[in-house]
């Protein structure tokens, strides 16, 4: 019998406590509010200053980007990708480190390494990308990166890169016509020899 009344009493007190908490939250909504009105307000991105020699790498996990002019076609990123979402095809350049005007190939990277290969195809399937950032680290020319962070001056940070068609999410970074142009050059060379 005592338990019966104690239970009723406990019910009343604990429930009143709960009601008090929700009431306080309701009247203090202006102070407590956590909602952001999304398209107008956006979540403040935390300051990212990682402050040591790694600062050239960025810590934002957004879409991948490749500065194709700097790519030497070493395939390191393709090999390290755990989901095989990077596909690179290269052809041997006729002369190492020299520009090829026809296809817009630039022979020397911004780190002044001379390219021995022409990247005819550099595709990244962002539908499969798992944003693990593993491809960014091994790149010797630092030409593959996720947009944002220290690279924010190159590209705006864009988390919302949704598309209506899945095939639009396969990013093709190699310059248009590189493949055909390169084929022509190789054919010409073959004919010569």
């Amino acid at each position: 019998m005592e338990k019966y009344f104690r239970d009723i009493w406990e019910s009343i007190t604990t429930m009143m406590t709960g009601l008090g908490i929700t009431w306080m939250h309701m009247v203090r909504i202006r102070r407590n509010n956590v909602t952001l009105q999304y398209p107008e307000e956006k979540w403040p991105r935390p300051e990212r200053n990682i402050g040591f020699d790694h600062s050239n790498y960025n810590v934002i996990r957004s879409r991948l980007n490749v500065d194709i002019d700097d790519c030497i076609g070493c395939l390191k990123c393709e090999r390290v990708c755990p989901v095989q979402c990077i596909k690179i095809v290269t052809e041997k350049a006729p002369v190492r480190g020299e520009d090829i005007q026809d296809i817009g190939h630039i022979g020397v990277t911004s780190n002044s390494s001379r390219k021995a290969l022409v990247v005819t195809r550099f595709d990244i399937d962002m539908t499969e990308c798992c944003y693990c950032n593993l491809c960014v680290y091994p790149c010797p020319e630092e030409c593959i990166y996720m947009t944002g962070g220290p690279n924010a001056h190159k590209h705006p940070i864009d988390y919302e890169f949704s598309e209506y068609d899945r095939s639009n999410l396969i990013y093709r970074f190699a310059k248009k016509g590189t493949k055909d142009g390169m084929q022509k050059i190789l054919d010409a060379k073959g004919a010569e020899s």
């Binding site: 200053n49 402050g51 693990c132």
Partner: protein
């Protein structure tokens, strides 16, 4: 008084159901509201984790471990790298150990918050769930600040971590802890001691200690049954032996030892303990040091095998790794704590009512990504 038995009905809870925490199917035999038999059917989220691991290098496995227990990805990273490092007999710098512990404990708070909140939601209380998610977001913000990702981090590497802590992280973390600690009391007042909640969870789904051990149940579920077993204390890995904290066990305060309320409350207490660990770790963390110092050039563990366990928010996460000396593991077996926790459901839930099954399932805190792998 005799008990009237009606015709038994087979009910499918799941694979799509609001409170199966993923794609879990429960084949339930019911007699009215009473459950007579319950059979979990798993495999709907099977993503061939172990087969994948046999085809890639040791560092490529880490993003996959993220996706096993997607609510405690840091803890999974931690478990995996600890196993590989143990296999390679690699010593990591002290600063890295501190960072790892900080991240793992933050992840524990985040994971427990979600577990507790969703448990409230299973019972029908909506508001505590949103309060807890609100605070979890702040932890995820800190993770984003550190490594750029909010859910699947790929942060811990064999021999180090991917990024050093950003400037101002320690201050942010202390701010969060100061804000967070009073919130725990509010959760308790709002949900834990609420009479309806207690009625729904106390004395329900009692898991005796010997059954729990026989089923390999671990983590908070085991501790709620009164077994003082925590790998951070009993078999310390990393630098957990440096910190002062209590191993929280259930005491049957509201009902029987090992009931749903105990399992819930042990998690709540563990959040408090994690805050304690975090305060110590954040105060002691060395200022200088390179987190990439011990990264091996090529991860090529010697021939052999290792079974290594770590304490994730869900329990003992074991990695059984077999290496043949090549850069690709021969076999990676993940012994997931949620797998064993779900296995015990059939034993626990028989004889209870429909609503209790949901309550018991929620209290076990399973993550289907980890069960099906």
């Amino acid at each position: 008084m005799g008990v009237i038995h009606g015709e038994e009905m087979v009910l499918n809870i799941g694979p799509q159901h609001p409170s199966t925490h993923g794609v879990l199917r429960l084949k339930v035999k019911t007699d009215g509201e009473i459950i007579s038999e319950i059979t979990p059917v798993i495999g709907y989220l099977h993503r061939c984790f172990e087969k994948h691991c046999e085809n890639m290098t040791y560092d490529q496995v880490i993003p996959y471990t993220d996706r096993c227990d997607y609510l405690a990805a840091m803890a999974n990273n931690f478990g995996y790298v600890v196993a590989v490092e143990e296999l390679m007999e690699l010593k990591v710098p002290e600063k890295v150990e501190y960072i790892r512990v900080i991240m793992a404990e933050f992840q524990r708070i985040a994971s427990h918050l979600l577990a507790l909140g969703v448990y409230g939601l299973d019972i029908g209380a909506f508001t505590p769930f949103l309060f807890m998610l609100r605070d979890r977001e702040r932890i995820l913000d800190m993770f984003e600040m550190t490594c750029g990702a909010r859910l699947l981090y790929n942060y811990m590497w064999v021999g180090g971590v991917s990024h050093d802590l950003p400037k101002g992280f320690v201050e942010t973390a202390f701010q969060f802890l100061d804000y967070f600690e009073p919130q725990i009391d509010e959760y308790n007042k709002l949900l834990t001691y609420n009479k309806i909640f207690v009625e729904r969870t106390a004395d329900i789904g009692v898991l005796p200690a010997d059954v729990a051990i026989s089923y390999g149940v671990s983590g908070p579920n085991l501790r709620a049954s009164g077994v003082k077993w925590d790998l951070r204390r009993n078999a310390p890995y990393s630098i957990y032996d440096k910190f002062e904290f209590d191993v929280c066990i259930g005491d049957g305060a509201k009902g029987t030892l090992g009931d749903c309320w105990d399992r819930y409350y042990v998690r709540m207490l563990e959040v408090k303990e994690s805050v304690k660990i975090l305060r110590q770790a954040l105060a002691q963390i060395p200022k200088d040091g390179d987190v990439h110092q011990a990264l091996p050039k090529k991860i090529r563990p010697p021939k052999g095998s290792i079974y290594s366990r770590t304490e994730t928010p869900r329990g003992d996460l074991g990695f059984y790794i077999v290496s043949d000396g090549s850069p690709i593991p021969t076999r990676v077996k993940m012994r997931s704590p949620a797998f064993t926790a779900l296995a015990v459901l059939g034993e626990l839930a028989g004889g209870w009512m429909m609503s209790d099954v949901i309550s018991i399932l929620g209290s076990l805190d399973i993550v289907l990504g980890e069960i099906d792998r």
